[in-house]
């Protein structure tokens, strides 16, 4: 294959208020013509900065770019003048950003934003440019482009906005398209459509795509080759199959094991301890060594060079050095295996009595005159003692509102919630707040920035008077910190001194402090990086086992929900459409919405992504006929009409179609 772009020893640093941050450190890679190179990494790994620096989009100062070269068509982009760079941007290399809402100018029509790029690089009339823009909008799948081109960005939905941004990037037929987390802000079904669009573009136009993402599922779906970034460096690069099936760097291995797999239900998640290093003071040697469960001594001294695994596969780890003998390899394997076995000892859960019952719950909000938002519109389900009930759905489906109703944050508009057979509304509030607790989504806003960790954790104990002396309070806080795996000495610290995953643990400790029986976890991991997500999930599992907790686990990430839940409920537009044991739901989804949702989840497994059967591309819309929840198979409920019920029972499910 021809190389279209070649990067050698690229470094980017930022001079910030607090010090110099080395965001990208000595990165080298090639991009072939017509391929999709995925760059994977956690937040702060430098992937986004690196991609922006390829087209000179890093503001200098505070940014500073060093390196040997970025070679494009026999020219070094690093030596380009500002004017020359400008000519390159948009016409040769263009970029699509994460959030379409903010990457479009809100006060400019879509038309003017698209033709701006065309007119900058081509000497054509405005009329021709508009015609080209309409054609582009059609290409990216926007209906009635002639009409919609005169609209403003806010008149498009999120997915449509991203299509507009892609049209803008394609305006001058660039050779390279950089996509910087282009699907992260989108719902999973929309994400699937946008990914398909990228694939189509590449197929039809032979554009080379640099696709930046943190989602290994998306990578498996779209990439030809993968580069894994950690702490500003590329630690491993290779073909997508090589990275997924034969990872060499401990970080890549850890990342893959930290991801739940939709098909494989019983594997436990392996978490990566700690959090990524501070790039203001990057550690010497292998930056991952401190989080590596079985590092080599040399990892702490020298940074490993890139070792070749195959002709197409390289990794920066000393494990590939010739001096690493069989003995050491065995030893490492032993360490990792014992770790895995510890986690393996989970016995099958036995469901207890009914703990919580929700019947026909309704929560309507008043949004201005004659405008009622029916966030939750008649939802019923039950939760049994000791189980984890997962609640999934896309943003705005009412899942979080339902969760908040259960902890009494909202007064329900209609319906009833029974906890241990008692009506929640009638229940003693003090008792209620002790028995039902909540874990929140945002690790940054869920802790009062003015309080010490001890005060945050002890708040529930303060309110309910759960200790007799100051000494007992301190002891309890320290025990709780220990329980969630934090250093008890940090009780006097303030929240901003902790990382996201640590803050989430503090939130869990706060909920545990009142010794609840039931915990509503409202998207507790969606703001965390993959390696940290596994830590929190494992902690929740451990606590459930030790303390017999019952969870309602709310999330939009279906693979995580499946991993942690015993039963799963699917919500859509304020209503429950399907409830089933998690394995049953994933193997035999009945409701068309569940099917489209499952079909859209990218699986971190390139082979299955390429061959897997897809459900018919259902664009299911809520019909006027409101179904009822009916038990199709034992424990498997679907919202349907009588006729549909018959059909489901007969066919098992809608036809499966090869994609």
């Amino acid at each position: 294959m021809d190389k279209i772009l070649s990067v050698k020893n690229l470094s980017v640093s930022f001079d910030t208020y607090a010090g110099v941050v080395q965001a990208v450190r000595n990165v080298s890679f090639d991009l072939d013509k017509g391929e999709t190179l995925a760059i994977v990494g956690e937040s702060g790994s430098g992937k986004s900065v690196m991609s922006k620096s390829l087209m000179g989009l890093i503001p200098q100062p505070p940014g500073k770019i060093d390196g040997e070269y970025i070679q494009y068509k026999n020219e070094n982009i690093l030596s380009f003048s500002k004017g020359k760079l400008r000519k390159l941007r948009g016409s040769e290399i263009s970029i699509v950003f994460q959030d379409p809402m903010t990457s479009l100018n809100p006060t400019m029509t879509v038309k003017n934003q698209i033709i701006e790029g065309i007119l900058t690089h081509n000497r054509i009339s405005k009329k021709k440019a508009v015609a080209r823009a309409i054609e582009l909008l059609g290409l990216v799948g926007i209906h009635e482009p002639e009409k919609r081109i005169n609209q403003y960005p806010h008149q498009f939905s999120g997915g449509m906005q991203q299509r507009v941004v892609i049209a803008m990037a394609l305006a001058c037929d660039p050779e390279i398209l950089i996509a910087d987390e282009p699907t992260t802000a989108l719902d999973v079904t929309v994400q699937a459509q946008v990914i398909d669009l990228f694939k189509k573009i590449q197929k039809e136009r032979g554009t080379s795509i640099v696709f930046i993402t943190h989602d290994l599922g998306v990578v498996a779906n779209i990439a030809d080759r993968v580069a894994v970034m950690y702490a500003g460096k590329i630690v491993e690069i290779g073909k997508v199959e090589e990275i997924f099936y034969n990872p060499s760097h401990p970080y890549t291995k850890g990342l893959l094991k930290a991801m739940p797999n939709l098909r494989d239900s019983n594997s436990r998640l392996m978490s990566i301890p700690g959090s990524p290093p501070n790039l203001m003071h990057p550690p010497a040697g292998d930056a991952f060594a401190l989080r590596n469960k079985a590092p080599l001594k040399i990892d702490f001294l020298y940074h490993p060079p890139m070792f070749k695994v195959t002709d197409t596969h390289e990794a920066a780890t000393w494990l590939l050095h010739e001096k690493v003998g069989q003995e050491v390899e065995n030893e490492i394997e032993d360490i990792l295996l014992t770790e895995e076995e510890e986690k393996e000892s989970v016995d099958q859960k036995v469901l207890g009595n009914k703990l919580l019952e929700v019947t026909d719950l309704k929560q309507h909000f008043n949004a201005g005159q004659n405008n009622e938002v029916r966030a939750v519109d008649g939802v019923s389900f039950e939760i049994y003692e000791g189980e984890t009930f997962g609640l999934v759905g896309e943003s705005g489906c009412g899942k979080s509102t339902t969760g908040r109703n259960l902890v009494n944050l909202y007064e329900a508009t209609g319906g009833e919630i029974y906890f241990k057979g008692e009506r929640l509304a009638k229940k003693n509030k003090v008792e209620l707040h002790k028995q039902i607790q909540m874990i929140f989504q945002d690790p940054y806003s869920s802790l009062n920035p003015r309080w010490t960790v001890a005060d945050i954790i002890a708040e529930g104990m303060d309110i309910h008077g759960l200790y007799k002396s100051e000494k007992e309070r301190r002891k309890k806080v320290e025990d709780l910190l220990e329980t969630v795996g934090l250093n008890p000495e940090h009780a006097t610290r303030y929240p901003h001194e902790f990382s996201g995953g640590q803050r989430q643990r503090i939130g869990i400790a706060r909920a545990l402090a009142v010794e609840p029986e039931f915990i509503v976890a409202d998207e507790p991991i969606s703001a965390l990086d993959v390696s940290i997500q596994a830590q929190v999930i494992n902690l929740l599992n451990k606590l459930q086992k030790e303390q017999g907790l019952t969870y309602l686990f709310i999330a939009h990430d279906l693979s995580m929900v499946k991993h942690i839940s015993d039963r799963v409920g699917v919500m859509y537009q304020g209503r429950m459409v399907e409830i089933a044991p998690s394995d049953e739901l994933y193997e035999n989804p009945l409701h068309p919405y569940t099917q489209s949702l499952l079909g859209a989840i990218p699986v971190p497994d390139p082979n299955s992504e390429k061959t897997r059967k897809k459900f018919k591309d259902v664009t299911w819309e809520k019909t006027g006929v409101e179904g009822e929840m009916r038990e199709v198979f034992p424990d498997h409920f679907v919202s349907c009409t009588e006729e549909e019920l018959e059909m489901y029972r007969k066919k098992g499910a809608f036809e499966l179609v090869d994609s």
Binding site: K52, M55, L57, K82, R86, K87, L88, R89, G90, S91, S94, I95, F97, D99, T102, S103, L104, N105, P106, T107, M108, E116, G117, T120, H121, Y152, H154, Q155, V165, M168, A169, A171
Partner: protein
């Protein structure tokens, strides 16, 4: 959009009625006001009786007064015997309007430029200089600044006339004195709005399209930064109005502000009331126009029909 305009219009009328009522009841309690003054001559009392019906109950007087206000009948001056307040305002407003418009124009242009330069050259010497100018402009009271200008440029250097209103050069010092505050306020807002806008993703997107840097700043940056600036034009108009009271007094400019201050000094209550109402109406109208303009300029509001907030 129509509903939005109507609701703003409703607020506008209500606010004006509130101020008119406040003025009426305050004047009722005031010794020496047209409603209870022992200094009045027989003839004046007769006219007032006819006009306001002073022998009628307060409620009737109130509605009569409101009726008069609504048709622009604001009473008769004490000081300039027999001349109606409306006429006085009519004679004086021209000068103040010219002065105000010049100051507003100068302040907007200079402040806008200063703010844009400061934002584009963020954290450089130019930025710091612009912000020091802005803090000074905001902090130094207009009467101090006007006094300084008059003393140094007028008295000591004798470059420009010290007082009165006989041509353009007479308006220069008062205009500068008034514009300083406007300029400083606009510069600060413009800078922070510009910094905000320049940090947005769509600016990076525009750069990624290969558009020229200044064109990006002009077409994407300044345009979006100016929308919120519109909202502070309302409050700035008030500061200009109150500014004219001081500046016209210092430079002996025969405008409405000077008239107002003199009326206060001579207890000419009908004029005070009239000018107060006039200023209020002007202010309310400006706020109304600004609100509507904001809705028109920002497509997110124009096309969704809501107000800001």
């Amino acid at each position: 959009m129509t509903r939005y305009i109507l609701s703003r219009l409703g607020y506008m009328i209500f606010t004006f009625l509130l101020i008119a009522s406040l003025t009426f009841f305050l004047m009722q309690t005031l010794p020496g006001s047209p409603f209870n003054d022992e200094r009045l001559s027989e003839a004046q009392e007769k006219i007032l009786n006819q006009r306001y019906g002073l022998d009628e109950p307060v409620a009737m007087q109130y509605f009569k007064y409101l009726g008069n206000v609504l048709v622009g009948e604001l009473g008769v001056s004490f000081q300039f015997d027999g001349r109606s307040v409306t006429t006085i305002i009519g004679e004086r407003i021209g000068v103040s309007a010219i002065l105000g418009a010049q100051a507003m124009g100068l302040g907007l242009v200079l402040g806008g430029l200063l703010g844009i330069i400061a934002a584009v050259r963020h954290n450089t010497f130019m930025d710091y200089t612009a912000m020091i100018i802005a803090v000074l402009g905001l902090s130094i009271p207009n009467f101090v600044f006007a006094g300084l200008l008059q003393y140094w440029v007028g008295v000591r250097l004798q470059w420009l006339p010290v007082a009165f209103w006989q041509g353009f050069e007479y308006s220069i010092l008062p205009t500068i004195s008034l514009a300083a505050f406007v300029m400083a306020t606009i510069a600060r807002y413009m800078r922070s709005e510009m910094l905000d806008v320049l940090g947005q993703d769509y600016i990076t997107t525009a750069h990624a399209k290969g558009v020229d840097r200044w064109k990006v700043i002009r077409k994407h940056g300044i345009r979006n930064a100016m929308i919120p600036i519109i909202t502070i034009v309302g409050p700035l108009t008030v500061s200009l109005m109150t500014g004219t009271l001081v500046v016209e007094q210092i430079f002996s400019v025969p405008g409405l502000g000077e008239q107002f201050v003199n009326s206060i000094l001579t207890n000419d209550y009908p004029v005070i009331m009239g000018v107060t109402l006039f200023f209020s109406l002007l202010f309310i109208a400006v706020i109304f126009v600004v609100d509507i303009l904001y809705g028109i300029v920002d497509p997110r509001i124009r096309l969704s029909g809501g107000g800001r907030n």
